[in-house]
Symmetry: C2
Subunit: 235 residues, 2 copies
Amino acid sequence: MTLLGEHPSTLVVVPRTERSSRRPDGSGTPRSVDKSRTRRALLDGALDLLADRTLDNLGIREVTRAAGVSPAAFYRHFERIDDLGLVLVEEAFATLRSLMRDARDDVNEADDMIKRSVAALVRHVHDHRDHYRFIAREQYSPVISVRLAIRREIRLFATELATDLARLPIVNTWPTEDLVMLADMIVGLMVDTSKRLLDVIEEAPDREPEVIRDTERRLRYLTNGAVAWKPRPRS
Amino acid sequence: MTLLGEHPSTLVVVPRTERSSRRPDGSGTPRSVDKSRTRRALLDGALDLLADRTLDNLGIREVTRAAGVSPAAFYRHFERIDDLGLVLVEEAFATLRSLMRDARDDVNEADDMIKRSVAALVRHVHDHRDHYRFIAREQYSPVISVRLAIRREIRLFATELATDLARLPIVNTWPTEDLVMLADMIVGLMVDTSKRLLDVIEEAPDREPEVIRDTERRLRYLTNGAVAWKPRPRS
DNA sequence: TACTGTGGTGAACAGTTGTTCACTCACTTC
DNA sequence: GAAGTGAGTGAACAACTGTTCACCACAGTA
């Protein structure tokens, strides 16, 4: 790979009208659509590269190359690579939230709930590998803004789960402090499970049921623990 | 910083005898000592850089510069940067193991045990920040060999803890499968706690007691959970 | 004493990086 | 229809990268 022809679409100078698709009425693609299209291409290209790379190590040139766009184009959309990272965090947590929404709609009865929850997680990790890997990997990123954003989102996520838990019979008398603790441990288990799933999906798919079974047991251990727990008296 | 004078010690050509320290008897430093000295300098320099960098993004030139040595010298000790990473994994887990040894010697009575264990962890994280941060950050490194090594070590660590747990009264009738599960969750809590501690140490030292208290509560929740747990019948 | 092995050197290499620049030209607005 | 806006371009920049190379100085050995 040489400097020339770094991004395929520029090997030959292609007039804009040939590059952008046309609307049914035959008029040109609106500017705003064009803009958000390359923005998406940059985000998608970046997420793709991040499958085996760290955000810390993600080059602007790489990203633009993956998006089929000139290096300078990057600066029309983001100031620094960190900003792109922050958008990815947002998007990743949006899919995580959709998981919770799905799971909430899906709940039937107590014991089944654990199996269903884990199954929902497994499905989501399969469908959104890149997002889950990104969160897992960048959770302790040296890129401070991204690390902080992820932590904030996880904390938010845990408190949301806590309010959900508050409706369950055994724990509905607990002080919020204890509820948040339990929710936090459950979220921790979820994150950890998604990491294990990602490894297993890529390296030993036949061991996936094992991970699932184990996760169910852990989740059951955590929820069972509630009956033996004496909540803090004050607060 | 220019290409010239990249590593300070080579700005002027210094004859070996002036560079290396002398033994009491006045003879030159033995070769083997010299060798392991620069090796250490490379490892230390690397670990230092990894405080705000990913292994994925660690340059050979950076490392040699930090070690005060010429870039070419690197290849006398490691083939690739990954190999250096693997040595760091080994060393980091050596310190982790020493934590467990200390904690084992230190145990008195049941409830105190939790406080003591957490205190020991906190002390260790303070004393070996770089090692803990390295493990935390590279646990999901895109550098495969390092990621696998860390996972293997953590698993090993959990099984060691499981055999320790087996001596405790409540759980000593459990099948190993359940013991390992509990041990795994405890190790997970430890790793997670060390991550939180690292953040707190650098960003809000006054909130450290809060993290400690919270960790103690979680550990108590996990161990209390044992009394409510019905181990798997078969196996 | 002279010989040999080897850790470390500096120079050189081609390749890649982030960032800026003047420029084009399709879309939008007037 | 003319003018203005701004997303995208390609070329250029200095800086840095990993890796190889012949070479050097010295510890260990014979």
